[in-house]
Symmetry: C2
DNA sequence: ATCGCAACTTAAGCAAGCTTAACTTTTTTG
DNA sequence: CAAAAAAGTTAAGCTTGCTTAAGTTGCGAT
């Protein structure tokens, strides 16, 4: 038995993938340990196994990177996760802050046949309910427009709200409460030096968003 | 930690439940071992644990029966299984012989919240695509009309095809091929002593069903 | 440059859920 | 009803995926 994939391994590969993609660096033991809520020792252990199976390249004390083979599996897990999220929102009408945890479990128990049917049913969508790109069956990610954290947006410009981290259910809950949904057009009224907050107007409503929030949501430039 | 439920335990409880319900007797070590494709020793092991947790009553060499508490969990697993099966057929258009295996995995990874939404979405259905009753949220099974194996049906009477075992994908495949779907009305033309087969007419078509098939599909009397 | 600390690895060990092999109990049957 | 067969149990041991504790490495601050 050389390369049996398990729920645990899928989660390790997904975590490394997310780290590589979001941070653009080799994943460190500590970061992955935090991400998966396990001890550092567990990461070192698994890193050896995944390395032996050719799914990551790993050198002691030097961090981890996915191989082509490992990335293929990670993309597949991410695909299943994001398709499930969209499916639950679109079909069952769940809120976009209710789907991450469900998808986290379903993603490991979905055959290729089933996920392809879901993909087909949804019309081969490109983005999940939080604006993350959905890998296609053959593992390619749709082109994403250039996006930046709202925190870096310029005063006087207009942006479209295009992405938020799906893990932060509390944040999404807040966004729902203030009616700030994905694809909302927002105008940057001001950026306050005082508390580093951002004042935005959308749908005729003006609110102030804290630094932390403005760093967590991503926007695409519409009008300078 | 007294009573953590796991995938494995859910499967043991479900197997014992099915045995109790279908056969109406105490489940034996051997039968459950076959059902779950594990060794007898594994069953004895788990029987002790489930017994300690108060989920089954178990006496060495005497077989196993669910307690009220164990039955509650088993009914819940069965509920999740059958709702998923119906959902996959109704919403994604899977065939009734494609859903058992998928449901077998999804049933363990579905929160109460999600399964209740699926239940609601389907309109609180009473039967799954194979005619098995779906336990309600509070654990009650819908009243099932008196049904018998087709093999015991009487010549000259008319029946409705109301149930087939969801595990036998090959049989269901055959039934699809000959256009014999659930809820089809069928007239018993003849019962041959020679090979113990049953000749039935449905939708203007007459075919002969082997003893094994006639024992595996269940019908409800319509007209004597 | 090196000291000290954070990050990382190793080692030993644990729980779950299996296995096989040996042994015991129950059931069947001639 | 006794002996053989079948069913069930026990014991020892394995793998996976974790833990904690102890030891090692690398690196930033002085």
């Amino acid at each position: 038995m050389v390369c049996m994939s398990t729920v645990s391994k899928e989660n390790y590969l997904k975590a490394i993938f997310n780290y590589n993609v979001n941070i653009g660096e080799s994943a460190t033991t500590k970061k992955i340990a935090e991400e998966l809520s396990v001890s550092n020792a567990a990461i070192t252990d698994m890193a050896k196994k995944l390395s032996e199976e050719g799914l990551i390249s790993y050198e002691k004390y030097k961090g981890m990177e996915l191989t082509t083979e490992g990335e293929k599996i990670a993309l597949n897990v991410v695909r299943r996760h994001r398709l499930w999220e969209l499916f639950l929102v679109k079909v069952l009408g769940l809120n976009w802050n209710e789907v991450h945890e469900e998808a986290e479990k379903l993603e490991h128990q979905t055959s290729e046949f089933l996920i392809d049917r879901i993909d087909e049913f949804l019309g081969y969508p490109e983005f999940d309910p939080h604006g993350h790109p959905i890998p296609s069956k053959n593992g390619t990610l749709p082109k994403t427009p250039k996006i930046i954290p709202l925190y870096e947006a310029e005063k006087g410009s207009t942006y479209e709200f295009v992405r938020v981290n799906d893990r932060d259910s509390e944040l999404i809950n807040y966004l729902m409460k203030v009616g700030l949904l994905l694809n909302t057009e927002m105008f940057i009224e001001d950026k306050l030096k005082f508390d580093e907050s951002t004042m935005v107007t959308y749908n005729g409503k003006t609110i102030s968003l804290s630094k932390k929030i403005a760093e967590s949501i991503y926007v695409k430039l519409l009008k300078k």
